[in-house]
């Protein structure tokens, strides 16, 4: 099942920021049973967040992030069924929301649709696994683990591999509450798997075709880029301690953390076009990443990049596993090129050469930049707060290979998954 990644972005009525903040605080302090947005009732929801960005002249924005299963229509329906009235309260604090008085489902639907922002690029860690499937496979693994504990205690592990595996299969088939485990749907359809590669091939072909035009264009671009890079102001303003404290206090409550930030794109059309193109390419490549890694980073569940305000600002949201420090270190140690290619087009980023060199490799400065641009997430929900991308992948693999026919080596490596 495919996942959808999007945000609803609305302008907050400047006079109602406090009211909205209070409301969001109420939701955050009681995620499971608040009367406004009962996240846990939304079946296909993976991660969601509300962030208030107050970015000086751009006015306060409310970003409502949603990462869910299936398409928008069905999700909207479910969302409004459970949270319509709550969202009415929230969006009554926003501009352009005309449903004064009581909640009106039609108007809310129209309002949300009008404010959907589809990301320019996004990444999904556990491609094709719906929220329900993730929960089920966690249960399956836990149950088998306990069964294996008994096998070990009973000294059954000296049996031949095949019969060990049979015992596990038997255990699962015998349990009526686990029957769903037997039939597995593929993570992606053939078409879903094939399309991203086809697109890349197509792009490559077009590029070849237009090579005579592209080469001079590229040369000119590089010259212009270098001029920009040399002229970009290099002023380093370390992030304030108070801001970091404010952010850090909210972090590390569960296995995952949330990053929300808005970045100003450097002035001029050149940077805007460059960033849009880089994101376009990044998104093309990200669609082929089905093994849980984004440019070598293994910990990201969902991440989005969206250009907003006619490309003048870049919104970045990420739901990642582990600590902030570790996440940023992964960015620096494993994905410098890609992320420098994106963020070098935004202001205050450490100086770069040729778009992707230097930049984030200056670790301390890059971290200061990333903290400085981060905004505290007001409400953040995770449907599986103690799982990493790796855990989920492993649980899926256990189930996918449970009843397939495997040779001895494969059985051995399957057993290592426990």
């Amino acid at each position: 099942m495919a996942q959808t990644v999007l945000t609803f972005i609305t302008k907050i009525d400047p006079g109602k920021v406090t009211q909205l903040t209070t409301l969001l605080e109420q939701i955050e302090s009681n995620q499971s049973s608040n009367p406004f947005v009962p996240f846990a009732s939304l079946k296909g929801l993976h991660f969601a967040s509300f962030v208030i960005f107050d970015d000086g002249d751009c006015g306060p924005d409310l970003v409502f992030e949603n990462n869910f299963d299936g398409a928008l229509d069905a999700y909207l329906e479910d969302l409004l069924r459970h949270a319509g009235h709550g969202l009415h309260g929230i969006y009554s604090c926003c501009l352009g929301y005309t449903a004064t008085g009581s909640y009106d489902r039609q108007k809310m639907t129209a309002y949300l649709r009008a404010h959907v922002v589809w990301p320019n690029a996004y990444h999904i860690g556990n491609v094709g696994r719906g929220a329900e499937r993730i929960h089920q496979e966690t249960t399956l693994r836990d149950r088998i683990e306990v069964f294996l504990d008994d096998l070990v205690t009973d000294g059954k592990i000296d049996e031949p591999l095949g019969s060990l595996r049979q015992r596990i299969q038997q255990f699962v088939s015998d349990d009526p509450s686990l029957t769903w485990a037997i039939n597995v749907r593929p993570r992606q359809t053939i078409i879903e798997q094939f399309t991203p590669w086809a697109k890349i091939a197509l792009v490559a072909m077009c590029a070849l075709l237009f090579l005579p035009v592209l080469i001079p264009l590229a040369i000119v671009s590089v010259i212009v880029l270098r001029r920009h890079e040399k002229l970009d102001p290099d002023q380093f303003r370390p992030v304030s301690s108070a801001h970091v404290q404010h952010l850090a206090k909210r972090e590390d409550r569960i296995v995952q953390n949330h990053y929300a930030g808005i970045f100003r794109v450097k002035p001029g059309w050149f940077r805007r076009v460059t960033l849009r193109s880089v994101l376009w390419v990044a998104n093309l490549i990200a669609r082929t990443s089905t093994r849980g890694k984004l440019m070598g980073i293994p910990s990201i569940h969902f991440a989005h990049w969206s250009l907003i305000d006619e490309g003048r600002r870049l919104l970045f949201l990420s739901n990642y596993g582990g600590s902030w420090g570790n996440y940023l270190d992964d960015f620096i140690d494993k994905a410098s090129t890609g992320l420098t290619g994106i963020w070098s087009n935004t202001t205050d980023f450490p100086p770069t050469r040729f778009l992707v060199l230097d930049g984030s490799r200056n670790g301390p400065r890059f971290k200061s930049f990333a903290r400085d641009k981060q905004t505290a997430t007001r409400v953040w929900y995770s449907a599986y707060p103690d799982l990493t991308v790796q855990n989920i992948d492993n649980n899926s693999a256990i189930r996918e290979d449970l009843f397939t026919s495997l040779d001895e080596t494969a059985v051995r490596s399957w057993l290592r998954r426990f």
Partner: protein
């Protein structure tokens, strides 16, 4: 390669003073600023620097004194607020800050409210590290230090943490300690480390000494003060945690977990599981190289071999479990995406360990004797968040470390939640140990700054801000 300024660097940064086996750590609090400054100015002349001495001189050496300050200590001595804000945030907030306690796993019995020192009830400003050749020399040094402190009248002794004499290099659970240690480029210790362990990870000086190029190829921001922009040069951050070890509880747990089906103790299985917790046999021999048994079993020989990798030599953790203490504390090449990147990345989270055990050895490791014993864990690093705290949070106490679930470091992890596990990977099937308990309790701790000598002199010569204020006022 960086030229280290040995005359300005404190000796403790480059040496663990193996030739001075006796130690006491004095924790002090400032009550009168002016006299504390005078005391500090006098003491600075006696602080042992890192200037190399000949072998003969070292053999003659009787004692060594080093000194580090907390953020509150610096503030009391009158470092101006702008300067105080140039230190790392972790240091400014201190180890006991609420969200730091959360990320470090200091909860329940280990929570800062329960600490003997380093919390709001009993804050510490100064750490005086006193090392000596023998008990008598230590006694004499302490007497003199205390006389000076009493004479200064502005300083109180919060606590004297005695590390006593190290009998050998084993910690209280019974394992050889102090093997894995990075080497600072330019410190001249490379060949010694190679001889000792057959392996050395050389790191840029800036990883451990402020003011030098670090592993990112830059000189990280260094604290600065009015009139002394390079105030932090030649200094480092010193992390101190007093960690009580529950030795009998540890061995009884292992004993219970490895009993035969008839209920009798299985010594071999017990020692094996203990080794799986650590990643080394009690002799120090690494499991990756000696998976089937301790090559020095039954002898007192120690083994400091360190020339192995995890992914390359033991990818599945069949020898050294994925969650073992040394594999968490330094995953080497194990965390991917490929060995080379993993090694490079793990390197950036290295610490120089300088801890020493305290308390007497437990006579019978299965029977508690009612006295406290443990490790005065000390480590040095230039970036507390990226080095010490990352190891503690992202590796040691991470319940999902490297694909695991519901487990933390079996030896020193926080096991307050009752469902904690430890998985021992094996072929064809793992075994799981359940209901782990916390075998270690934090009793106190703080982040200190181990200054360069010039910075200590600067602090000793500071004048009262009131004084500044008056002169300015008079000038008007």
């Amino acid at each position: 390669m960086a030229q280290l300024e040995h005359h300005d660097i404190q000796g403790f940064l480059l040496s663990s003073y193996g030739h001075l086996p006796c130690a006491t750590y004095l924790l002090l609090r400032i009550s009168d600023v002016a006299s504390s400054r005078q005391w500090l100015a006098r003491l600075t002349d006696e602080v042992r620097t890192a200037v190399a001495v000949s072998k003969a001189e070292r053999e003659q050496e009787v004692f060594s004194v080093n000194l580090a300050l907390t953020h509150t200590g610096l503030s009391k001595l009158g470092l101006d607020p702008a300067a105080l804000a140039t230190f790392s945030l972790a240091f400014q907030e201190g180890m006991a800050a609420e969200h730091r306690a959360r990320i470090l796993g200091d909860t329940k019995d280990s929570a800062p409210q329960e600490w003997h020192w380093g919390n709001a009830d009993n804050p510490v400003d100064i750490l005086l590290l006193v090392f000596a050749r023998d008990e008598d020399a230590l006694e004499a040094q302490l007497r003199q230090r205390r006389n000076d402190i009493v004479a200064a009248r502005g300083i109180q002794e919060v606590s004297a943490l005695s590390a006593g004499r190290q009998e050998d290099t084993k910690e209280h659970f019974g394992f050889a300690d102090g093997i894995g240690q990075p080497v600072i480029e330019g410190s001249g210790r490379l060949s010694r480390q190679l001889d000792r362990t057959g392996h050395a990870t050389v790191l840029k000086a800036g990883e451990f000494i402020l003011g030098y190029v670090n592993d990112y190829g830059v000189v990280a921001d260094t604290p600065s003060a009015t009139g002394m922009p390079d105030f932090g040069r030649n200094a480092t951050y010193l992390v101190f945690r007093q960690m009580a070890q529950h030795v009998a509880e540890f061995w009884r747990f292992l004993d219970d977990a490895t009993r035969r089906s008839d209920g009798t103790s299985d010594q071999a299985a017990r020692e094996r599981l203990a080794a799986k917790f650590v990643g080394r046999w009690t002799s120090g021999a690494p499991l990756v190289k000696y998976p089937s048994g301790d090559p020095h079993a039954g002898t007192s020989t120690l083994n400091s071999e360190n020339d192995f990798e995890f992914y390359e030599n033991d990818g599945h953790g069949f020898a050294c479990p994925i969650g073992a203490h040394i594999r968490r504390a330094n995953p080497r090449d194990a965390l991917g995406p490929d060995s080379q990147t993993a090694l490079q990345s793990a390197k950036r989270h290295s610490i120089l360990r300088r801890g020493r055990s305290y308390g007497h050895r437990l006579a019978n490791p299965f029977v508690e004797d009612g006295t406290e014993r443990g490790l005065h864990f000390i480590c040095l690093n230039s970036d507390i968040e990226r080095q010490f705290e990352l190891i503690q949070q992202t590796w040691i106490n991470n319940t999902t470390f490297s694909g695991l679930q519901r487990e933390t470091d079996p030896l020193i992890g926080n096991h307050d939640k009752t469902d904690r596990l430890f998985t021992v990977q094996d072929d064809p099937l793992r075994t799981r140990v359940s209901n782990l308990r916390s075998f270690v309790t934090v009793k106190g701790g703080a982040y200190f700054f181990l200054h360069g000598l010039r910075a200590l002199r600067y602090l000793g010569s500071l004048k009262d801000s009131i004084f500044h204020y008056q002169t300015e006022w008079r000038d008007e």
